[in-house]
């Protein structure tokens, strides 16, 4: 894709989102929908900034980002290592794959009650469910990437004198990278969703808590603001991850 086409796409995408916000704004201001139920975006943002101190908002964001960082990092590292090892050592794959296939379809949120019993109400229970959100997509895509490697590439590596761990590091892991990257991106999105849901259920800080707390206070502005904030942060972080991936493998692998 040429830069100008990508640019055009970005402008078009932004125009679409902007248009929707504009419609929403107009619908709310013209009285088509009640401001008490669904305030205009500007009303929600300004209203929130007037009632909630900025430091508090940033504190919630910071707490959420901290949780997702640890949960995601743990899930990404373990998912990558276990996925790659399972794809490389056949015996291990035979052992782990049915287990992963069994656990994977369970929504991470279903683990929350158990997580609370295991880890209490503190940070570890939230980190644990976020970890699950990241782990499964990453472990499966790493595994898929490994078993999908063109055998010819491994043969070339062998004829060049590589074997064992060196063949794994120099040939197999780079070859599996595109699949792994896809898994990481999906895992990030999922961890993010799980994060907010986990905070809605059991937390005393974080963006999810901020929304849930506002519901109890009946402050619709803060709820709408929180939703916009979550969307924006997810968008930015996902874009950042995408950009890193593109920089690393975009030239040799079409994404």
């Amino acid at each position: 894709m040429t830069t100008s086409v990508r640019w055009q796409d970005a402008v078009l995408g932004a125009a679409g989102t902007g248009g929707l916000f504009l419609l929403w704004e107009l619908a709310s201001r013209s009285g088509l929908v009640s401001t008490n139920v669904f305030p205009a975006p500007t009303t929600a943002i300004i209203g929130t900034l007037q009632t909630v101190p900025l430091a508090d908002i940033l504190g919630h964001v910071w707490t959420s980002l901290g949780r997702i960082f640890w949960g995601f990092a743990l899930g990404a590292v373990l998912g990558t290592v276990i996925g790659i090892a399972s794809g490389w050592y056949r015996a291990l794959g035979v052992l782990t794959r049915p287990l992963i296939e069994l656990l994977r379809p369970i929504p991470p949120l279903a683990w929350i009650p158990l997580a609370i019993i295991w880890f209490g109400l503190g940070e570890p229970s939230k980190v644990f469910v976020i970890f699950l959100g990241a782990f499964f997509p990453i472990v499966t895509s790493a595994y898929r990437g490994m078993i999908g490697i063109d055998p010819a590439l491994l043969r070339v590596g062998q004829t060049m004198g590589l074997r064992g761990p060196m063949l794994l590091i120099r040939v197999a892991v780079p070859a599996a990278m595109p699949d792994l990257a896809t898994g990481i991106r999906i895992g990030w999105g999922l961890s993010f969703g799980v994060l907010v849901a986990a905070e809605l259920i059991a937390a005393d800080r974080g963006m999810g808590f901020m929304i849930m707390n506002a519901r109890q206070l009946g402050d619709v502005d803060v709820i709408v603001f929180g939703i916009i904030l979550i969307g924006a942060i997810n968008l930015i972080t996902d874009y950042a991850i995408g950009a890193v991936i593109r920089r690393r493998i975009g030239r040799w692998h079409a994404i």
């Binding site: 063109d150 010819a152 590439l153 043969r155 070339v156 062998q158 004829t159 060049m160 004198g161 590589l162 074997r163 060196m166 120099r170 040939v171 780079p174 070859a175 990278m177 493998i249 030239r251 040799w252 692998h253 079409a254």
Partner: protein, 257 residues
Amino acid sequence: MADPARSDVAPSKIEICGVSKRYATDDPDTPLVLDNINLAIGDNEFVTLVGRSGCGKTTLLNIIGGLVESTHGDVKVNGRTVSGPGQGKGMVFQQHALFPWLTALQNVGFGCRNKGVHKAERDQIAHQLIELVGLHGFEDKYPAELSGGMQQRVAIARALATDPEILLMDEPFGALDELTRLEMQDELLRVWSAHKKTVVFVTHSISEALVLSDRVILLAARPGRIRREFPIPFPRPRKRTDPQMIALYDDIWKSLA
């Protein structure tokens, strides 16, 4: 049988002794992919395998390279039984198999890097070989950014980079246009004679086999056997229009059909 005079002088570089192959996925009733292949290849000899598609050329090359195990028989290189792939045997694969995450230059330098050659020296070798295969200016392109013929040339350069004693080449010039193909044939002959390599080459082009080889081995399919051997005694450089070459061409062509 190999040229007796040659095997008297020096022991064979590569000895293929009673090699048979059946893939695990094959029906036990189907004929063997390779059936009792015996072939001795001398040091610095250039041998070409020809035969119809599916007759087992790639399989035999992979067995020599130690990438595929034979069902019966074994292959000796320098008198030692081949037990796996490794240094000293450069391979060019039919589907060139470049590493997509490495640039052309990095692909060529890959083998040297494994041998622990320092970056400066490695780059120098790689640059020379890129030049040799006519890809100057494309060093920093990724395989996806190269044409099929260019990719194949990178694969050839990559195989040459570690300066292996034995080159196993599976239709290396298959994707090249006629002119590049002729140039690459010349280059290969130059490298071969200058660096004393033993080459086992696979091609579908009889004229290519005639221009390059000391000996052409014609394989028959299912069961895969050596049907005939054709020593090519003419001095190089050879002309395709030479009447003797044309006669030999017809001879091979008839045996192939």
